[in-house]
């Protein structure tokens, strides 16, 4: 059993185990064990990868290739590079934190953790796939549990949001499917067999017309999951209705699939298409960046604010990817990571505040710093991190993106860059608005005066997420080196 397949196998086994459990206590213990195990695997993978990379300079390492559907030349073929390793680690950490945060889930706990782990399985599988078919398969596996997770354990207009989210994402995957098939049928390498394998396709140069046709399909198909304007509207409602852990996993991990897919598939396999279309999508993503930020200023529901800030931050990711250079891409990956941690942290904190005050409307909250100092303080820190304060991961990522996009000469790119850079000011505005109204100021509501402090599992969850943010922010070099090395072959393919 190779080190990567475990990432698919272990969650499945944990799911099987969970199916046997009864009651909250057993369920969460099993889930926790599973989460810890996966976390251990991810960390172990990181070191194994660093060792392997030292001796092995293939694009993907730990590769394994098993023929699955012989006739269609579909393989179960997996492998990782620095990027996927980092994202796997992100997933494992957020999953673990999510399990901690949902320690007290009361309704159908078993099913909750099962769905959560199925989702995780999909994500893991997606990140380790080299084969387009398996990638697509895992993509859908990752998306579909959201329906149950939001629909059953959500709040507010949960059925509506769940349906909307699922349909929009599945609609996107519909577009994506056509794109993938298009790539597949143009992947004949000099009379060879059609293939789904990314690396093999990369060696073929797909006809120009085909690229023009299929790049937008593939790009949009993935980017909808990355909240590309104007296809982002599933995310605010979805996040607002989802239970805490789900928002964390969804915004923290699932939305990263979008950027990752764009990077791995759309950009890597259809470079010419990327060059041709980049201007169009640059406009969209730049709009998304500034638009999300401004929209966030006006919201009063914490989750909506965070959802729109996600639109803004992930717009940054797509924007960076479209800038087609090493630095920007590095920034994009870093941004994916840091946004993953930060937004997960945000949602965790929002969940805690909500579970205590039973409202997410900032206008009805106030002076929380006085009442629940620890949570509020962390919220301030998360806020500062999210507005790109040095010393936190967000800053590193954004700086890479900005420096990268500045490498692009030409007025159009300059203007687009300035637009997205200006987002740092707007971001500050809406973050400080929340901090000012909700955490500072007088306590608005007497019954808030005796709210319970953070419990041990909440604290653990928070710290799990906070440490990486600070870690990346203070010492980014090793991570960005790891990512840069992995980006190298891809950038060469594009340029």
């Amino acid at each position: 059993m190779d080190i990567l397949s475990l990432f698919v196998l272990v969650p499945v086994l944990v799911v099987a185990l969970l199916a046997l459990t009864t009651g909250l206590k057993q369920a969460r213990l099993v889930a926790l064990a599973g989460g810890l195990l996966q976390f251990g695997m991810a960390v172990n993978l990181l070191f194994a990868y660093l060792q392997e990379r030292a001796v092995n300079d293939a694009i993907f390492v730990f590769t394994r290739d098993i023929v699955w559907f012989k006739q269609l030349n579909i393989h179960y073929s997996i492998g990782v590079d620095g990027i996927s390793v980092a994202l796997l680690l992100l997933t494992a950490i957020i999953l673990l934190a999510g399990i901690f945060i949902s320690w007290k889930i009361d309704d159908l706990p078993k099913e909750f953790f099962i769905s959560l782990l199925v989702l995780a399985t999909g994500v893991y599988g997606f990140f380790i796939s080299i084969d387009l078919f398996t990638m697509f398969l895992f993509y859908e596996i990752a998306v579909i549990p959201m329906y149950l997770l939001i629909g059953i354990w959500g709040s507010g207009p949960k059925e509506y949001s769940a349906m909307k989210l699922t349909l929009m994402l599945m609609g996107a995957s519909a577009v994506l499917l056509v794109g993938i098939l298009g790539i597949y049928f143009n992947s004949i390498a000099g009379g060879g067999a059609l293939t789904f394998n990314i690396l093999e396709i990369a060696n073929v140069n797909i006809p120009y017309e085909a690229q023009l046709l299929f790049f937008p399909l593939t790009f949009v198909g993935f980017a909808v999951l990355g909240a590309l304007f104007p296809f982002h509207t599933w995310s605010p409602d979805g996040h607002a209705s989802a239970p805490t852990a789900v928002s964390m996993l969804h915004a923290g991990v699932l939305m990263k699939l979008g950027g990752y897919g764009v990077f791995r598939v759309a950009m890597f396999l259809l470079p010419a298409g990327a060059l041709e279309w980049s201007w169009f999508f640059i406009i969209l993503s730049a709009i998304g960046v500034i638009y999300g930020a401004f929209a966030a200023i006006r919201q009063t529901d914490l989750k909506y604010i965070n959802a729109y800030s996600s639109v803004s931050h992930l717009g940054m990711v797509l924007f960076a990817l479209l800038m087609l250079n090493k630095t920007a891409w590095n920034g994009a990956i870093l941004q994916s990571l840091s946004h993953g941690f930060m937004t997960a942290l945000f949602f965790a904190l929002i969940g805690m505040i909500y579970s205590r005050t039973h409202t997410r409307d900032i206008t009805r909250l106030g002076g929380l710093l006085k009442v629940i100092p620890f949570i509020s303080a962390i919220y301030v820190i998360a806020g500062l991190a999210s507005l790109g304060l040095p010393g936190f991961s967000g800053f590193v990522a954004e700086m890479n993106i900005f420096v990268g996009s500045f490498q692009q000469e030409g007025l159009f790119h300059r203007v687009a860059t300035l637009v997205s850079v200006s987002a740092i000011v707007v971001t500050a505005v809406y973050i400080l608005r929340v901090v000012g109204i909700m955490l500072m100021g007088p306590v608005k509501n007497e019954e808030f005066l005796d709210l319970p402090q953070a419990t041990w599992y909440e604290t653990t969850g928070i710290l799990l997420l906070l440490l990486p943010i600070v870690g990346i922010g203070v010492a980014p070099l090793w991570l960005s080196d790891m990512i840069l090395k992995s980006i190298q072959p891809f950038i060469q393919a594009v340029l």
């Binding site: 559907f69 059925e159 499917l177």
Partner: protein, 475 residues
Amino acid sequence: MDLNSFFLMRHELLLLVIILLFVTAEIVIPRKKKGSTVHLAILLFGLHTALGFLTLEESSLFGGMFRTNSLIHFFKNVLNIGVLILLLQSADWLQKKIEKQNRGTEFFTLLFCSLLGMYFMISAGDFLMFYIGLELSTLPVAALAAYEIMKRKSSEAGIKLIFSAGLASGVSLFGISMLYATTGSIYFQDVIQVITTTNLTVLGFVLFFAGLAFKISLVPFHFWTADVYEGAPISVASYLSVISKGAAAFILMILLFTVLKPLMQVWENLIYVLALATMFTGNLFALRQHNMKRFLAFSSIAQAGFILLGLITGTQLGTATVVYFVMIYIFSNLAAFGVVQAISQKTGKENIVDYEGLYRTNPRLSLVMLLALFSLAGIPPVAGFFGKFFLFTAAASEGYYLLVFLAVVNVTISLYYYLLVVRAIFLRRGDNPVPHFSNQLYMRLGLAFTVIGILVLGLYSPLYDYIYELSGVFN
């Protein structure tokens, strides 16, 4: 031809024997004991199914009127398994029927006759055999649809089915007569030599095609479907939607890929149009159904539309994907109908609203339903995903990207209404949810088979490759 070449018709002969057995059973077994015939049926048919797997070489009889080959043989086995599962699922209900209303064994007789018809239909080597098979497979089902003699809806279903069937067969016969006029033969191997696209052949083909389209219930020949499904007993509806549709799709594929190959440039456009019409109509109607059976009826219409995506190619890949998809579809739909059956016969509830809160009372059934719906909607990792993906691959391989795109849009629409059911079962709590109950052994077996099918057929790839090899026979 010597005697043992008769054993090429093993399926048919065995089934015939069973039918005769039941006819006699009708006479010899006293009324009180009729209930036990259910076990007999399951036993015999299980045996028949098992024997069906014995290999046999491909050949043809009666100067080509009856032919068989590995793919046909394989497909007959698939049909057998389907019918067996169907029997298992409806055993409990049948037993009650027979004992309460002291009915005879006609249900089995008719069911097996219809199946026999299918056998002949798919091994038909000429239009006559094909026609007889078609009718033999349709008429008994009409009787079965009217099986619930006390229910008006049942008779209504029967009438609608038999009249529509009569019309359809009439039209298609008229078409066949024209084909006969142009080609001068009713034998496929002769027809294929001489047939060309003249106006008359095209007309004849369209008329003939309508007859089959009726059985697969393609738009606009689908109207009977929903009403019949709703009125007929669930197991009959299930049979119609699964076995008869599957068989019809299969024979249509055979005809298109072999006999009518010369008309390809006609039928590929025809199928293009019908595929879109069928998918959209099926989905749009399914959106707002309240009755489970009607809902499944329209969903099965939409599924038929997807099948056409494989037919349009006329290649080996197309054949393989169609057979593969039909097989998966049989299992998925049987699972869905099985759950409906189970709930209906315990509580008599058939509306989606009644399913609210089902998960909290009957988690196992709900999970089966979930798998079935996901498989129908094409959600990984269950089989339906692979089936659909491969169908689309087949269509795309011939460059029908737009068609694929529209089809995938339809998948999204269909996902919506499948999720409506999931919503009722899992998300809602319901005012008076179905109380917890436990199924009797046969039903459990029936559902278990379907679940295994749904889980295994997709992930276990050698199966597909095997089908692909078999599919070589037509190209």
